[in-house]
């Protein structure tokens, strides 16, 4: 009878350089002389770049430029006596997000339906929480011109994403349609919008619109930017979705026809679920781009996150704080873009994109 100890002594343990950290290092970083040179070069480069940056960040950088202004970075000139409303909204979204992670992964149909309804109602709730009511002492009205910072960037991005999605899908279907007028109009819209830079659309909305509208109609700059963002994004989304539609084999349409489904049923049950799943990566890529593009509204004078960051540089105490402020802004954009990207990879895995 051999015991466990016998086995361990009978076979010699692998050499220490082949397993654990050392093994990993040997196989991945110092596998060949070429790898070794690359590794040493990369480490050298990292040292040259990172060490001075870190030294600057820890010793020289004036991070008070960020800490003093953290509130206006989050919500711009939104009155600070009322800003608990912003934080309640953020807290609510975080809670809803974390709860959703569990609910939508589980199989509890009732729970999922409830959660969906909560998500559908929450935009109204949050909107009124932030905007308030005229003459109310509990939730006084906060004018839209006072919404700024990250809050404004998010409103623009979220509205742009949510509103451009259905419009984009409709435009994509319209472009594929057999009805000539619809096809023609969709195509013209898509091509015209894709043919102009976003900044010109923003300028049109901010600068030209007041000239066209009657003088007593005032639309807050935020709404003009929201609509411009959504309409612009829709054209690009339409083309992404069209790509998905074209990836669906002819046979799927024919099978749906053979089953006697109406065009709507065919699209809703057969084509769209497959087409949209195919194009998740480009759509998420587009939405990440959209989120970053919201920083362009700074040019038309809206106080979004980037614009507030820049205005910090004019405050008497922080005149030379470009490095700190722009580094922080880049970090914030990166964190949220990366989060969106990771979320999309999760979604792709769940839906099995690339495996079917």
């Amino acid at each position: 009878m051999t015991t466990a100890t016998d086995i361990n002594t009978a076979y010699e343990a692998p050499p220490r350089t082949e397993v654990g950290v050392l093994g990993w290092l040997k196989h991945h970083l110092f596998g060949s002389w070429f790898d070794t040179i690359l590794t040493i070069l990369s480490l050298g480069l990292l040292y040259v770049v990172l060490v001075p940056s870190m030294r600057w960040a820890v010793t020289k950088a004036n991070w008070r430029a960020i800490t003093t202004n953290i509130l206006i970075l989050i919500h711009g000139p939104y009155p600070q006596t009322q800003n608990y409303r912003v934080f309640i909204a953020i807290g609510l979204l975080v809670v809803m997000g974390s709860v959703s992670l569990f609910i939508y992964r589980g199989e509890n149909v009732r729970g999922r339906r409830t959660m969906t309804i909560i998500w559908a109602v929450s935009p109204f709730f949050i909107w009124y929480l932030l905007a308030g009511f005229k003459g109310s002492s509990f939730l006084p009205l906060i004018e839209y011109s006072k919404w700024g910072g990250l809050l404004l960037s998010f409103i623009l991005a979220i509205f742009g994403i949510l509103a451009s999605f259905p419009i984009g899908v409709l435009l994509a279907l319209g472009r594929q349609s057999d009805m000539p007028i619809i096809k023609w109009m969709s195509t013209v819209y898509i091509e015209v919008v894709r043919g102009v830079p976003f900044i010109t659309v923003l300028f049109m909305a901010q600068v030209m619109l007041p000239l066209i509208l009657p003088p007593d109609v005032r639309v807050a700059g935020m709404f003009r930017a929201m609509v411009a963002t959504a309409l612009f994004s829709a054209a690009y989304l339409a083309e992404n979705v069209r790509g998905g539609l074209q990836a669906i084999p002819r046979g799927q349409y024919e099978a749906a026809d053979a089953l006697g489904l109406s065009t709507f049923q065919q699209m809703y049950f057969i084509i769209m679920p497959q087409a949209l799943r195919t194009v998740i990566p480009p759509i998420v890529g587009q939405f990440i781009g959209l989120f970053k593009d919201t920083s362009l509204v700074a040019i038309v004078g809206l106080l979004d996150f980037l614009n507030v960051s820049q205005s910090i540089l004019s405050q008497a105490g922080f005149l030379g704080a470009q490095k700190e402020v722009y580094l922080f802004a880049a970090l914030v954009y990166f964190v949220f873009s990366f989060a969106m990207s990771s979320a999309s990879i999760r979604l792709e895995k769940q839906l099995g994109v690339g495996q079917r």
Partner: protein, 373 residues
């Protein structure tokens, strides 16, 4: 999968409904309110002829309950978004002063600052999106005509200056023969530099950059011998350099840049209100009236000029359509010109801009108020 699709669609549709309906509801409400109030008031004000049907700007502002002032949020000392979320600066203080003149106080309920970019300015004025523009705007003939705007009294006399390294040995423009000069492209500064150097017969190499920070960065890096922009800008941008003491601003002033408030054509009463708000701050400094002593002086002053200015005597304020003590209110809330200047640009600030031309006429400057009588 299907459930997720349905859920998504529902969510998306609801959100769009929410987002689309919300602004409209708000607008309709405010329009209704506006319509209701006009229909209520106009019969009372006697059936006016068509020419008077457009209400005066003052009435519009009063009815709205707040002044909308176009300002800057990116110019140190003049218009800045402060860390408490409010706007502050020299120009912003003049927005405040106008709101005080009309409503007696300047806070969130009576004043809205609308930060504008340089290119937004004329359109915001022409479309009446703002009541008055106080955004470091140089008064020029073409702006006066092409913007359909008029300019109030100049609140700050600026002018283009030149910054050089102290150890460069450059003391005046004539020393800059063959030098390279960093300048922001597309600005009047660039054109003016060319004019001034040609006038003096000095050869130089302009190095142009698209925006202010990159221009300054190039100068800091030693790419040019000189750096030119408006003096007020030079003074604040000097503080951004790593070693401000190593640089100096030459005494020469290469252009005239009078900065002041602007308002749209067509309402002379409104123009008067803005103008006399500015003159009030000039006169107050001239008479030594400050925010600290204005109430005492109003009680004790014997000089009829001061008594008229503060509304103790005469009906001057009423003539503008304002409260008779509008000027006393401005001084109490905002202070006189000197107080406004020192608060934003004076020796206790990071900028410490010398008064120079922006002194009272009695001190050799250009600030001169017509008499309050």
């Amino acid at each position: 999968m299907r459930k997720v699709m349905i859920a998504l669609t529902v969510l998306v549709l609801f959100t769009i409904l929410a987002a689309c309906s919300q602004p409209k509801v708000e607008e309709v409400k405010s329009n209704e309110a506006a319509a209701a109030s006009t229909t209520q008031e106009e019969p009372a004000a006697a059936p006016a002829p068509a020419a008077q049907a457009t209400e005066s700007r003052l009435d519009t502002v009063r009815k709205r309950g707040k002044l909308i002032c176009g300002g800057n949020k990116n110019l140190a000392g003049f218009g800045v978004l402060a860390s408490d979320g409010s706007f502050s600066g020299f120009d912003i203080d003049y927005c405040r002063a106008i709101a005080v003149a009309i409503f007696g106080k300047a806070d969130d309920s009576t004043l809205e600052i609308r930060p504008l970019t340089a290119s937004d300015r004329p359109i915001a004025l022409q479309t009446n999106e703002i009541d008055v523009l106080v955004r470091n705007t140089t008064y020029t003939l073409s702006r006066d005509t092409e913007w359909s705007a008029n300019f109030g009294p100049t609140t700050f006399y600026d002018g283009q200056g030149m910054m050089v390294r102290k150890d460069s040995g450059i003391e005046k423009l004539e020393d800059m023969e063959g030098a390279s000069i960093c300048v922001q492209t597309g600005t009047t500064t660039e054109l003016n530099l060319a004019d001034q150097m040609a006038l003096r017969g000095i050869n130089y190499t302009p190095k142009v950059f698209p925006d202010a920070p990159s221009t300054l960065a190039a100068f800091q890096a030693g790419n040019c011998d000189g750096f030119t922009t408006d003096k007020s800008g030079l003074i604040s941008q000097k503080q951004e350099l790593d070693d401000p003491a190593a640089f100096q601003i030459l005494g020469v002033t290469m252009s005239k840049e009078p900065l002041g408030p602007a308002y749209a054509h067509g309402d002379d009463q409104w123009a008067d209100i803005v103008d006399w708000t500015v003159y009030c701050t000039f006169s107050a400094e001239e008479f030594g009236v400050t925010s600290a002593n204005v109430d005492d002086i109003a009680k004790t002053a014997e000089d009829p000029n001061i008594r008229r200015m503060l509304g103790v005597e005469g009906e001057l304020g009423k003539g503008l359509g304002l409260d008779n003590d509008f000027c006393a209110n401005i001084i109490r809330e905002m202070g006189n010109y000197e107080e406004i200047y020192n608060r934003n640009l004076g020796p206790d600030t990071a900028f410490s801009v010398p008064r120079g031309l922006n002194s009272l006429w009695t001190d050799g400057g250009l600030l001169y108020s017509p008499p309050f009588r």
